[in-house]
């Protein structure tokens, strides 16, 4: 049963929330919608759920016009980024709610709710009030409520974003297990996130969305290796990919008085306005390297993010250890230039170390 969308557009004000969005989602697959905040992820999910009606375009599910089916008959499930549950019901009643709505037999409801509680690790909590649970547990309840329905389409709207670091890691693991456990056999799973790392870990089909427009579609690996444009490279990397304006001539990449020998996949690009893209992890500290000035050093977890500057060029370097730097310190760095990307002046990918879009 495929979920097919054709040219969905939604423009409630001056800006497009969805702009000519088309896709073809197949059952049994996980689709990750990657985009920054306000890129239209939630709008897209709400449109699929039926909570929003697009201005134009069509959605078909199982060959039928989905736009004519009201929300409550669509058999979708949705988990919000805020932990949305029914505050007047306890954990059991919350999870049983969609089943009761379908007038299913009481004993079957009980069995199914217990199964769902087990799969999200909340057995023993069934009589608790929702307000007595932690954020992570509340989110598990809403996940259980969406699992119990056996919905054909399961929408997860940044389900981990409001959780603290540790819980996020833990729940992400559990998601991966749940998704791979055959739950997905006849379900279309759609997961939206702003986090490139999450996207790569979930390892599904990725849809990169920006300003309501789909920029690129492909497996996570493909998006990572061959982002088709500057924007995708920025969105799908955290910290965003460094973009350096450079010129290539005589087999040398030149910028800010630095000459670096061009790797083979870049050497033939001699056009004007070329931009070189390099991940923050593909730059390393090196005694014999090029001198840059420290603008800012942030320690995040076990890594250090160095914001560096030389002339007009600003770059971010991530180092896999905790180091202390002062502002205006001089550091020397080396570029792993064979892992560099090149983009045309219009932002399209010119060359990638992984062989480009068709490679």
């Amino acid at each position: 049963m495929d979920l097919v969308a054709n040219n969905l557009s939604y423009k409630p004000d001056d800006q497009y929330h969805l702009n000519e969005v088309s896709f073809n989602f197949k059952e049994g697959n996980l689709y990750t919608i990657l985009g920054r905040t306000l890129s239209g992820k939630t709008t897209l999910l709400k449109t699929i759920a039926g909570l929003l009606t697009p201005d134009s375009g069509e959605i078909e599910f199982d060959g039928k016009n989905f736009l004519k089916v009201p929300v409550w008959e669509r058999n979708v499930a949705m988990v919000y980024q805020q932990f949305i549950n029914y505050p007047h019901l306890n954990v059991f009643e919350n999870i049983a709610f969609p089943l009761k709505q379908r007038k299913i037999d009481q004993s079957i409801i009980k069995e199914k709710v217990m199964d769902a509680l087990k799969s999200v690790g909340l057995l023993g909590y069934e009589n608790r009030k929702i307000q007595e649970l932690s954020g992570g547990q509340q989110q598990r309840v809403s996940l259980a409520r969406s699992l119990v329905k056996n919905a054909k389409i399961l929408l997860l709207d940044e389900p981990l974003v409001n959780l603290d670091y540790k819980l996020r890691e833990q729940l992400r693991e559990e998601f991966k297990n749940l998704f791979s456990k055959g739950l997905a056999d006849e379900t279309i799973l759609i997961y939206s996130t702003t986090d490139p790392r999450e996207t790569m870990e979930l390892n599904g089909e990725v849809i990169v969305l920006d300003e309501g427009k789909i920029l690129q579609v492909g497996p996570a690996k493909e998006i990572f290796e061959n982002p088709n444009s500057l924007k995708v490279a920025e969105i799908s990397n955290d910290p965003p990919m460094n973009i350096i304006e450079a010129k290539i001539s005589d087999n040398q990449i030149r910028f800010e008085g630095i000459d670096v020998e061009a790797p083979q996949h870049l050497s033939k690009l001699t056009e004007d306005g070329l931009k070189i893209g390099l991940r923050s992890s593909d730059i390393e500290l090196n005694e014999n390297g090029h001198e840059f000035e420290v603008e800012l050093a942030e320690i995040s977890g076990s890594e250090t993010l160095l914001h560096l500057k030389r002339g007009d060029t600003k770059i971010i370097v991530s180092i896999e250890e905790v180091l202390n730097f002062k502002i205006h310190d001089k550091v020397k760095i080396n570029f792993k230039i064979d892992r560099a990307y090149a983009f045309h002046a219009d932002g399209k990918l010119a060359s990638s170390p992984f062989g480009g879009l068709n490679g």
């Binding site: 409550w72 979708v76 805020q82 949305i84 505050p87």
Partner: protein, 282 residues
């Protein structure tokens, strides 16, 4: 330090209790006095300072023919009008408030906020301004001097309060809760009845309390819009006043007219102390 704190706490509680309870005690003792005991200097304690009698209370139930003012019928009239008008106001007000909170209305320059303000603005005008159109309106549909007419007028007065309180309340209930209910298979009516309403009980109680209070204490419209057929309690109590102010029966009627409000206050307080007014919606 700690002992001083406890002492001060109880001291203020005692002072405040005396402050609150004393008027009621005074009214209660006064209701059992006669002319002599009220006007013959300060008297407090029954049987010691004065001889209690039931004359003040008897006046309230004696028929006018026997020199009394029969407040029993007006009392039940007041209860009936207040409760009916409050109930209808809450039902209509809650439905309107939900619509105003969740759906977008637009007619020219009139939008949701303007409609909400329209409701509230009904309470801005002084009652005297409203009395003329109300009078003409009720007389044109032959409902002057009737319970139904009073209920209609009270709904106009009470519904804005319900709308005002409930719009604010619904705005604080996340829309995502309604949306989740829709996704879980509720149609919009079921989403409202099964999910939104049960989570709005605190708001309903507050709105209901205000409606009952404002309905019960109204004197002005009850006075203007009724004559002989139907009378409400506040109007009837005023009829007690004659050349000699009967403090004893005034005190008795004050106590019976405040009683329903005290009962309402106790119920709400019970509910409050259970902690049910907070934490329902995060």
């Amino acid at each position: 330090m700690n002992k001083l704190y406890i002492f001060l706490k109880y001291f203020f509680i005692v002072v405040w209790t005396v402050f609150v309870v004393a008027p009621f005690l005074w009214a209660l003792t006064t209701s059992f006095k006669d002319f002599q005991s009220v006007n013959g200097g300060v008297t407090y304690i029954p049987w010691v300072d004065f001889e209690p009698n039931l004359e003040g209370w008897k006046v309230l139930i004696k028929s006018p023919a026997k020199g009394g003012v029969d407040i029993i019928e007006p009392y039940f009239n007041s209860l009936f009008v207040t409760c009916t008008a409050s109930l209808i106001s809450i039902i209509l007000g809650t439905l309107s408030a939900y619509a105003l909170s969740r759906y977008t209305f637009k007619a020219g320059f009139v939008k949701n906020n303007d409609i909400t303000f329209f409701f509230i603005s009904q309470r801005i005008m002084p009652p005297i301004v409203l009395s003329i159109p109300f009078f003409l309106f009720l007389s044109s549909i032959n409902l002057l001097d009737s319970l139904t007419g009073l209920i209609v007028v009270y709904i106009v007065l009470l519904m804005p309060i319900a709308v005002w309180i409930m719009v604010d309340f619904f705005n604080k209930v996340p829309r995502e809760i309604d949306e989740t209910a829709l996704i879980d298979g509720c149609n919009p009516y079921q989403a409202f009845l099964k999910v939104v309403l049960p989570n709005s009980i605190p708001g309903l109680i507050v709105a209901g309390m205000f409606c009952i209070i404002f309905g019960w204490i109204d004197f002005f419209f009850a006075f203007i819009l009724t004559f002989t057929e139907v009378q409400l309690l506040p109007v009837k109590i005023v009829a007690l006043n004659s050349s000699v102010t009967p403090w004893w029966s005034l005190s008795a009627s004050a106590l019976v007219s405040v009683a329903p409000l005290i009962i309402v206050a106790f119920i709400v307080e019970r509910y409050l102390s259970k902690g049910n007014l907070s934490g329902a919606i995060k």
